[in-house]
């Protein structure tokens, strides 16, 4: 959280946010499963102005061999931003931020994937941020879960993700880019609704212990909203939705 002064009204007297949403409302979310020809599984998500593509390959052999595990499969995740995805053109070299987010998303997905079912092999999750607008890691994680399911990888649950945060002294759901820049706190959450487990959690910004508790609660509720859309995307692909 930059702690910068807000030059816009983040929350008006009617509880309406700068982009017209209510405090407990997510941005518009569209998820589509199976959008790539070559990948074993794939998904595309639009989450507000975020546009993210995820492709899955695997389970497949690991090279070099000593990187594989005889007891279990391994998950490899690359979170990658296109140079044109952000306001100022991004240098194509992988940033430390991208490396960290790759690791955080990997550890958020691992509890959901039955890795023990494909020892010695790897599942690759390639996340491409085509357009970024705040909250990419949550949107990416949500799409990655759908793509893994689309690839037929055995899973315990889907991981649904959404951020909560503190804006204008209020705990709100799904912090957008402006709110992230001008706001007080951002807490991305990844959650497995069936297993009731939080698998991704980060926080930047200052919260009292009470706000912290509330923020977790609001975020988990957001994840449940996303979860319904994830299931719909898979249903649409495998059982048709009439319009596709």
């Amino acid at each position: 959280m930059g702690g910068r002064e807000a030059t816009m009204v983040l929350l008006d007297e009617n509880g309406i946010r700068c982009d017209g949403r209510k405090v407990d409302e997510t941005r518009k979310i569209t998820i589509k499963a199976g959008v790539l020809k070559n990948a074993d599984g794939s998904a595309y998500i639009e989450f507000g102005d975020n546009k993210i593509l995820v492709g899955i390959f695997g389970p497949r052999d690991v090279h070099p061999k000593h990187m594989s595990d005889t007891d279990t499969g391994i998950l490899r995740v690359r979170y990658h931003m296109e140079p044109f995805s952000v306001t100022e053109r991004k240098n194509p070299a992988p940033s430390r931020r991208e490396i960290e987010i790759s690791k955080v998303i990997k550890e958020a997905l691992e509890p959901a994937v039955m890795l023990e079912k494909f020892p010695r092999t790897a599942v690759d999750v390639f996340i491409e941020i085509l357009q970024a607008d705040g909250g990419t890691r949550c949107a990416a994680l949500s799409a990655a879960s759908v793509a893994l399911a689309d690839a037929g990888i055995p899973m315990r649950d889907l991981v649904a993700a959404c951020a909560s945060g503190k804006v204008a002294d209020t705990i709100v759901l799904d912090v957008n880019n402006e709110e992230d820049q001008a706001g007080q706190a951002d807490m991305p959450i990844g959650y497995m609704p069936n297993l009731k487990k939080i698998t991704l959690l980060q926080l930047d910004g200052i919260l009292t212990p009470e706000e912290y508790k509330k923020c977790v609660e609001v975020g988990v509720n957001g994840c449940k909203i996303v979860y319904e859309l994830q299931k719909k995307a898979l249903t649409d692909k495998y059982f048709g939705n009439g319009s596709d």
Binding site: L36, N38, E82, P92, D124, L130, Q131
Partner: protein, 272 residues
């Protein structure tokens, strides 16, 4: 990738046998490119963008326009840089890491086709001579691979540039400063059209798909401009062309390029 499998050999035999009968695996005429679809403004936050499908090959180009320092001794010209990346989700054989020579070639050939056609009028992209110019970055990513990236990348970059708008900057306190609300189309002078041909046996085919690409002996990419002149060319692959074939490829590129150019114009007009 080093050794061809038995299946690859069988595939090549089949492709060649069909070509002997004047046919292609997907039913196209020898000089017929695959279906092209162009979606402009796919990335609204970029200054221009286009998603291009060429058969099952899919690429996305985003254009970013921002102030930059001019190259030495080129203080009266804007900057154009074009990159290409094969995203690892585009094909199981793609590796992450530093770009392989074939990807570097892809980026450079795409860049040269646009640069040598003088498509962008770089002399209009100067903020203050010798101090600050406008940089145009066309970054292309390959999303799904089914052969002939050269043409797909060229069309995506060209369509993205044709539909780009450029902000205006003036120098304030020796720094380029945005002039709010003054946007104009990127100044362009011509529409380059890239046509890639493969040679399989003695047959020249336009726009090889993935299976054809794997079976090619050699390839050639020829870019023509709106005048129907040839402005860039790159031969590749482990075999040669006869002099006659080279001339024939030139003719094909002019003819097919003209049709492609119409599609690019349509995309430009459709986005306005």
């Amino acid at each position: 990738m080093a050794s061809h499998s038995v299946i690859d050999e069988l595939k090549k035999t089949q492709i060649l046998e069909l070509l002997e009968q004047g046919k292609r695996v997907d039913g196209r005429a020898l000089d017929e490119p695959r279906e092209i679809s162009i979606e402009t403004n796919a990335i609204p936050k970029a200054n221009g963008s286009a998603k291009v499908r060429l058969g099952d090959t899919e690429v996305l180009c985003g254009v970013k326009i921002q102030p930059d320092r001019p190259f030495p001794d080129m203080g009266d010209k804007g900057i154009f840089i074009c990159t290409a990346e094969l995203l690892p989700l585009s094909h199981p054989t793609v590796e992450t890491g530093p770009p392989q020579p074939h990807v570097i070639e892809l980026a450079r050939v795409t860049d040269r086709g646009i640069r040598e056609s003088h498509m962008i009028d770089l002399s209009q992209l100067v903020i203050e001579k010798d101090k600050s110019v406008v940089g145009v970055f066309a970054d292309i990513v390959v999303i799904d691979y089914d052969g002939n990236l050269f043409d797909a990348c060229s069309y995506a970059a060209t369509a993205a540039l044709l539909t780009s708008t450029t902000p205006k900057w003036t120098m304030v306190d020796d720094k380029p400063t945005l002039v709010d609300g003054e946007e104009s189309p990127l100044p362009t002078t011509t529409i380059p059209a890239s046509v890639t041909m493969g040679k399989i046996g003695n047959h020249i085919i336009v726009d090889p798909n993935g299976d054809e690409w794997d079976s090619m002996d050699a390839r050639i990419t020829i870019t023509t401009n709106s005048d129907g002149n040839i402005c860039a060319l790159q031969k590749g692959g482990s075999d040669g062309f006869t002099q006659e074939e080279i001339v024939q490829c030139g003719e094909i590129s002019v003819r097919v390029g003209a049709k492609i150019r119409e599609k690019l114009k349509e995309a430009q007009q459709g986005s306005q």
